[in-house]
Symmetry: none
Subunit: 249 residues, 2 copies
DNA sequence: GACGTTATGATTGTTTTTGACTGATATTGA
DNA sequence: TCAATATCAGTCAAAAACAATCATAACGTC
């Protein structure tokens, strides 16, 4: 096998894997350790790769760590659709509340720039909103480690002094009998109060939330407008008690 | 498996989880404890992570957070040292205030687990603290987009109701005549009040802050203890007006 | 075929990496 | 608090990978 041929193969392998081992190359190229070593030497001098003990690696790590979100693509898609629909409900000069949670995060991604004021209890939400130069007020108080949501009496007191045009609430369970429920009492208190302080309230709920019941009740179905992906759930039984607005699928 | 390969996997795991355990890495990478320990050592020296008892934790993303002029390794090293020293001042059962800013971020990286309560106006600070399961209270209020700090009347009112054992303040300028100064009036108000509400206050200041004057005065030099890297600055002229504690270099 | 050039594989001794072991230090649970 | 346990840093020898050298093989040119 020609030298150039081997070099091409080595670079191609590197491009795929990001890292190659000497032993591996000996097998693939069927030649001695010395030859591989010489090849790597030359390629390094030509600035084509970086030698490391045991093999070589690419010069520039292209695939900078993408955090492996374990969420299924379908679920992301659905959340995005609901978020997009929710964002379309927001008008200029609105003062809105955005609850912590992943579904409401999707809403933020779809938010258009405009003269709105957002109050939220989600740390990540606030951070992203501020980056987008949207006027943002974060509630103060204890941080719940698992969800990075602000909860507790301080935040409730603060919340009492605000009045919202619209509130967007994330919810964990929707049931025709037990209404909207969520597992954490402190988060439930925030949701409850936010709904109370708002002229109109929307609950964002993807497919996975329907016909589930959680520990603490937040509100009855008739207290809010449910935003969902209507094609996915049979809603006939909910119709009488609920106002449902479907997100585009 | 190659060293670089292991390092990449460790960093990737860290990026996802925020924290990795030695035992877990031994299983995943199929190698001995010694090897993992060496890997973590090297990655810590390269400022890629922070070792903790039992494993390692993620460092705040310095490259993203620091402005280009602050990115030099020396500067990071110095911030780390000051942060380490500041962390050593914290005792069990303390209630402390941590100001927003990059120097105080370094303090958080060195915080040991323990029964402490932290109040902060830095969104990122709060987020990291919560991840490490440290009892955290975030001040509520407007978000200043550029520094991701909470400011404004709401936060000041909230702050008034707290009393701290220690306050750790970031500062932009230290001058023998004009004292501690910072560019933003709203952030200055927070710093001022935090110092007032605390039994003891420390100003964290790396080399770049000395003999600089900014727009708004926060306090006189005698009101606080300056934490710095004493070898780097000629402090003789400051001695009479200032309490200075040097960080280990 | 003789000759110089280049590529290859084997061999050498050196350096790096690794896992096991040691006693020291930190954490945990009673 | 104390003792039990887990994790730590440091040392060591074995194993793997290394650079350097040499002799042989392949190639092209005359």
């Amino acid at each position: 096998m020609l030298t150039d041929e081997r070099h091409a193969i080595i670079l191609s392998l590197l491009n795929d894997a990001g890292i190659v081992k000497t032993q591996e190359l000996m097998r693939v190229l069927d030649c001695s350790e010395s030859t591989i070593r010489r090849d790597l030497d030359q390629l390094e001098k030509a600035n084509k790769l970086k030698r490391v003990h045991g093999g070589a690696k690419r010069l520039y790590q292209l695939n900078q760590e993408l955090s492996t979100q374990e969420k299924s693509l379908k679920n992301i898609q659905e959340k995005t659709n609901i978020g997009k629909f929710a964002a379309s409900l927001i008008e200029n000069d609105d003062v809105i509340f955005i609850d912590a949670g992943t579904t409401t995060l999707a809403l933020i991604d779809s938010l258009k720039k405009g003269n709105i004021t957002v109050v939220t209890n989600g740390i990540q939400h606030a951070s992203i909103l501020a980056e987008h130069h949207i006027q943002t007020i974060l509630l103060g108080g204890k941080i719940k480690a698992s969800t990075k949501a602000i909860v507790g009496s301080t935040s409730l007191n603060e919340l009492k002094s605000y009045q919202f045009d619209k509130a967007f609430i994330g919810i964990n369970g929707i049931d025709i009998e037990f209404g909207c429920t969520t597992p954490d009492p402190e988060e439930a208190a925030i949701k409850k109060l936010a709904i109370h302080q708002s002229a109109v309230s929307y609950c964002l709920a993807d497919e996975t939330k329907w016909n589930k019941v959680n520990f603490v009740k937040v509100c009855d179905l008739q207290d809010v407008t449910i935003l969902t992906n209507k094609s996915r759930v049979d809603l006939t039984s909910f119709k009488e008690k609920t106002t449902i607005m479907g997100a585009t699928s």
